[in-house]
């Protein structure tokens, strides 16, 4: 067969493929395909508000994404048929995210939630192009006129867990499986330690980093290494239940993170530091529905607003400790208690907070070193 004939055959094959695609495309016109560029007009009053959520993990992860999806369900429950929600899970933090978010806007969603840091640049790009769509970005730090950020004060949950850990540890050594060494996680490790030290000033914390948010086998290995190194109460900032399950297997104690993880380690479970995204999501959607939504702000919600809680405390936690945790909760709710109140030193002896000084959000947002009692140095910090 000559080259000419070969090319002809290939062209034929290509044409038939395109024809087939076109046939399929023409086949079903029941659903009117929405235009890729959304209409400039705001949705009519009677039409439900379309809201979309982009998740980095699977909704069944029992951790971070699961908590966000619960928030989405709370919105549905609160607003009924005034809203229509949808989600796309396992959207990678890469160039693909931009396409997915743009597609969400193209589908008519006017309020879009991006639930992980890595969506920051893609969301900014889409927000710049589609100025009438509202964007909410979790855990980020860049905003725009139609994009604002929100986050939760996970460190408050970490502190309360620390109070229990400090009491329940027999060896005086705590272990933390860290995910990625960003300020949020460093802050959580520090708050956990501060909480433990409020009960047992001699407590020590060891940290092992897996450099990922979600990797159960690695989390298992990290937890094992911590236990082997003498820690008998574990804490985590990673998103699976592997750490708790390892503790269960090895007869130590641990905490749940992001969601209630009691079922994964009934004997080992001490308490779960959970995030309730429901209250914030309901507020944001309410503002969007009432036309009161404004961008370029950063919300940081904690126990006070109902976003953070420590739940399912184990039966063998002494009553006085449970009482202490409730006191802390109440104090955080009415503003009378501050976790980050001086004197606080870092683990090289430098003073981070002077006596009686209370840390502001800026200080908390830029934490890069460990407090006294935490061993080692923050990697790359």
């Amino acid at each position: 067969m000559t080259d000419l004939q070969k090319r002809a055959l290939l062209r034929l094959a290509a044409l038939s493929a395109v024809a087939a695609a076109a046939l399929v495309g023409c086949g079903k016109k029941v659903e009117v395909a929405p235009a890729p560029v959304p209409a400039a007009a705001a949705p009519a009053k009677a039409e439900p508000l379309k809201i979309a959520f982009a998740y980095v993990g699977p909704v069944g992860d029992g951790g971070w994404t699961y908590a966000h999806d619960n928030g989405r369900k709370a919105v549905e429950k609160e607003f009924g048929d005034k809203v229509v929600t949808s989600f796309v899970e396992k959207v990678p933090e890469s160039a693909d995210a931009e396409r997915v978010i743009r597609d969400m806007a193209g589908q008519g969603n006017m309020l879009i939630f991006g639930t992980t840091f890595g969506y920051m640049e893609p969301m900014l790009k889409v927000a710049a192009d589609l100025k009438n769509v509202k964007f909410e970005h979790a855990t980020g730090y860049k905003t725009a006129a139609n994009l604002r950020t929100y986050d939760s004060r996970t460190y408050e949950g970490a502190y309360m867990a620390g109070v229990i850990a400090g009491k329940m540890s027999k060896t005086g050594t705590l272990g933390v499986v860290g995910s990625v060494p960003i300020p949020e996680v460093v802050r959580n490790i520090n708050s956990f330690t501060l909480g433990a030290q409020s009960v047992n000033p001699a407590i020590k914390t060891k940290v092992v980093w897996v450099n990922e948010w979600f990797n159960p086998p690695k989390e298992t290995e990290a937890a094992t290494a911590l236990i082997n190194g003498g820690a008998d109460v574990l804490f985590q900032n990673t998103d699976s239940s592997a750490v708790l399950q390892t503790a269960e297997k090895m007869g130590k104690r641990a905490f749940g993170w992001d969601s209630d993880m009691t079922a994964y380690g009934p004997k080992a479970h001490l308490a779960s530091a959970v995030i309730n995204w429901g209250p914030y999501y309901v507020k944001a959607v309410g503002e969007a529905l009432d036309g009161k939504w404004t961008g370029a702000t950063s919300a940081w919600w904690g126990v006070k607003e109902g976003a953070i809680d420590l739940v399912s405390m184990a039966a063998d936690v002494p009553d006085e400790t449970k009482k202490r945790v409730d006191e802390v909760k109440a104090g955080l709710k009415d503003g009378s208690f501050s976790i980050w109140k001086g004197p606080i030193m870092d683990n090289t002896g430098k003073v981070l907070l002077a006596k009686d000084a209370v840390a502001d959000d800026k200080f908390l947002g830029g934490l890069k070193t460990y407090v006294k009692g935490v061993e080692g140095k923050v990697p790359g910090g």
């Binding site: 940290v207 086998p217 298992t220 094992t224 082997n228």
Partner: protein, 306 residues
């Protein structure tokens, strides 16, 4: 001292996964077939085992299911490669891709499930010995099975007729064929056996090592097992030791962190791969060494009467 014992114990556990998978791949490669689909087989086996235990509550059934899943996929691979003569590397890659997607797909409803409580099997008396007790004798039976498997494979390959035939098929399928051996059937048997072992390793991950299911949970261990077979120059005993070495590197990395030593984790993680390359270079540069160590017909298709 105590923490050293525990480190050793966790190393054995971590290495078991790699050892079992790698032994399976070794059987494959001894017959001349390279199955790049290890990762896919292990993933499917992991979900098969997990689902089975969720529904039946029996861990050993779970292991069996894992082995069956691995064997099935390997059989498909084997038929394609051995009888239809498809390219081994491409077919193996297709298997990995398919296995990853299919296991994720099938496993969706199992993501938040929890396995029943695991029974521990400390060996009486021996488990209480100082140091070696906690180090060696408080493991899951699969760790000991891996060791037994290694010994069994050494015996099979080098002391039995069947093992000799397998090795000769790997060295020179044409000669074996001329001698009247059913080369293709032997290769298929090797591929299926290898797949079953990869499946066993995969089930071990989701049932014992990290008893939950998430997609992609094998996280590259299949590829490391492939490297390990080469690193160990296709000898079972070396595979076992290499597996502990590779497994140990990960545990060591975390252990060092816990001690406050700030080693760049990525550098430590690279070691198994770099070590494999070094070994590969060492055994390949001397043509005699290659002949002694690597099954000659590896990767080459065989067509009787072609």
């Amino acid at each position: 001292m105590d923490s050293m014992a525990l480190l050793l114990a966790s190393t054995l556990s971590a290495g078991t996964v790699l050892a079992i998978a790698s032994l399976g791949l070794l059987i494959n490669e001894k017959s001349g077939i390279v199955n790049l689909g290890a990762e896919g087989m292990m993933l499917c086996a992991a979900i098969a085992g997990f689902a089975t235990v969720i529904h039946t509550g029996n861990t050993w059934l779970g292991f069996a299911a894992g082995m069956a899943a691995g064997a099935c996929l390997a059989a498909i691979f084997g038929v394609l490669v051995i009888w239809l003569g498809t390219n081994q590397y491409a077919t193996g890659l297709a298997l990995t891709l398919f296995g990853a997607g299919f296991s994720a797909f099938a496993g969706i409803r199992y993501v938040q499930e929890k396995l029943p409580e695991q029974t521990l099997y400390p060996i009486p008396v021996l488990a209480d010995l100082p140091f070696i007790g906690p180090a060696l004798f408080r493991q899951h039976p699969m760790v000991y099975i891996a060791m037994a498997l290694t010994a069994g494979l050494v015996w099979f390959l080098y002391r039995t007729r069947a093992g000799l035939v397998l090795r000769s098929v790997g060295e020179s399928p044409e000669s074996a064929h001329a001698l009247g051996y059913p080369v293709r059937r032997i290769r298929l048997a090797a591929v299926v056996a290898g797949g079953a072992l990869c499946g066993l390793a995969g089930a071990y991950v989701s049932l014992v090592y990290t008893p939950l299911w998430v997609e992609g949970m094998i996280a590259g261990k299949g590829w490391i097992a492939l490297a390990l077979t080469t690193f160990a120059t296709w000898r079972p005993a070396r595979v076992l030791l290499g597996a502990y070495l590779f497994g140990g590197v990960t545990m060591l990395q975390f252990h060092l962190q816990g001690l406050g030593v700030n080693v760049p984790t990525q550098l430590l993680s690279m070691l198994p791969y770099l070590a494999t390359i070094v070994v590969l270079v060492l055994i390949s540069r001397n043509p005699l060494w290659i002949r002694v160590n690597m099954p000659t017909s590896i990767g080459k298709p065989f067509h009787p009467g072609a």
